[in-house]
Symmetry: C2
Subunit: 320 residues, 2 copies
């Protein structure tokens, strides 16, 4: 088994073409070529652990991803996120590699998925990008919207819990070519922005349906459990297009789960991102349509990014 | 994260006191101190993968174990079993160690569990030990019955699929102090032996209820999926004591699952091994009682053995 450190992984990442890799993962999933069991979960006193695993039939590897969130860690000087990915050969079960990514690959594949969601569902004319949350994922989502050339817009409004947090976000992101305004009132985001990404671990809705304007696209990234929620479920009811990364998974987790549970939408209204990518379903159909994409994080993304990292390092012969 | 190789693990194993470690694992489980989600499963074209994971509240680690069986591997010159165990800290989610055990720890913890089962449920006067199967686990089960001093009996009858296999078993086990007879007719085993261990991947019953004699104890080790079965379910119906390593798990897998499904027993008749260890339920109550213990393999065993290995190596300061 090859052991890949976070430094090796970080070094190889910029050379990978991740948008097509993640798109192909979603597509394979929605076309029924992937086997992805329900997410495994361990709930401990101080944190939670998710196990995401699966494979695409006929590919080289299966993946098992372990990702944890221990939200008291920062007070101990430790990152809250942790984990690793393991790749095994589909032919023999032999371990190919353990990627000691410390959560980096989960962060990146989630940001890439956000860019994919916006590519297919955001309006063409983005007035301003709204980012709800000011942490690591909130940074990566914005970076990837630009990197994947989803929109030429570089005007941003960021919401966070306090002035220090959003100011830090502004200072970090402006050197990357964005013009960042800040707010502590989340309703400002839906008023000023028509491409919105939510990336918080909130358990109560941050965005309200009454602030929603026609033509807005929202990618909801933060909620990946049955309890977390960033969007008022009435937002999904108002949307003309509700997209899941995985319908079976969104039945149990995330914004769609909440909206189904409260009766705001019916499952038959949801389509999968992979179906849009494959051209079997339509993404945005008009500039005035309201669109919501709910990303709970699917193991095909982990498989795609881990396989891409491993293959690149193998091709370079730094590993065999 | 410390990376422990199979050589390091093999070297440290003999210095560990595994019987009390595994007993305490079962006890914690049956006393409700453990959190063990259902087994995760990946079914591939050429093999199957099981994910077993969980923790005991208040302990240092949680465990995630990945174990695979690819039954065409031997034809490729590869072992059929594969996998690894990972230990993480309950306080922070930090990875403590990955144990690249290549299935060794699963094999050993399963054999130790067999010895625990016999310790509490086998008759005092063992006339002959019957081993059904002649592979790795069939060897380890016999070794551990002796190592754990469950019985002074060293007379063995082994059943296998062919003469070469059982002859190899005899040649391997006699130097360890056993007198081994061989048979290719499984019904001989229940006729000659009153402490029987089944350790095959069979999908059809190998032992028949009509051959069962009063006083016999059977530990069924081989079936750990919904489909595998080594015992005619009527054997469980005839037994005065039916023991599960985990009732929730045996509801879905193993001999008890099969017997419940076919209506041969009711779940209320089953008790847990940990309850017997804790003194909250009775093991064998008479020499004439028929007893069956169904071992499907519980993550507390993986946690116990992985923690014991890691702590020993840490105490020796070969790792920090």
């Amino acid at each position: 088994m090859k052991i890949l450190t976070v430094d090796e992984i970080r070094e190889v990442l910029p050379s990978l073409d991740l948008m097509p890799a993640i798109e192909e993962g979603f597509r394979a999933y929605s076309e029924g070529r992937a086997v992805i069991p329900p997410v495994g979960e361990l709930l401990l006193d101080k944190g939670e652990v998710h196990l995401k695993y699966g494979f695409i039939r006929g590919e080289e590897f299966y993946v098992i991803k372990i990702a944890s969130g221990f939200y008291g860690n920062p007070a101990l000087g430790l990152p809250s996120g942790n984990g690793c990915l393991l790749l095994f050969k589909q032919e023999t079960g032999e371990a190919a590699a353990i990627l000691l990514d410390e959560g980096l690959l989960t962060n990146v594949r989630t940001a890439v998925a956000g860019a994919v969601a916006a590519k297919y569902c955001a309006p063409k004319d983005v007035q301003r990008i709204g980012i709800v949350g000011a942490g690591t994922q909130a940074r990566l989502q914005l970076e990837w919207l630009a990197k994947a050339m989803v929109t030429p817009c570089r005007d941003v409004l960021v919401w966070g819990l306090n002035a220090e947090e959003v100011e830090r976000y502004r200072r970090d992101m402006e050197p990357l070519g964005f013009t960042v305004k800040t707010t502590l009132d989340a309703s400002d985001v839906l008023e000023a922005c028509n491409l919105v990404v939510t990336a918080t671990p909130s358990h109560t809705p941050l965005l309200r349906a009454e602030d929603l304007r026609p033509g807005t696209h929202i990618t909801a990234v933060g909620s990946d459990t049955p309890d977390k929620q960033e969007l008022d479920s009435a937002i999904l009811a108002k949307a003309g297009l509700v997209v899941a990364d995985s319908i079976p998974q969104c039945r149990l987790r995330g914004e769609i789960h909440k909206a189904l549970e409260s009766g705001h939408i019916e499952e038959s209204r949801c389509i999968e991102l992979g179906a849009i990518i494959a051209g079997k379903a339509k993404g945005r159909t008009s500039e005035s349509q309201i669109t919501v994409v709910d990303l709970t994080g699917v193991a095909v993304q982990d498989l795609a990014i881990a396989s891409a990292v491993f293959r690149k390092l193998r091709d370079r012969s730094t590993i065999s």
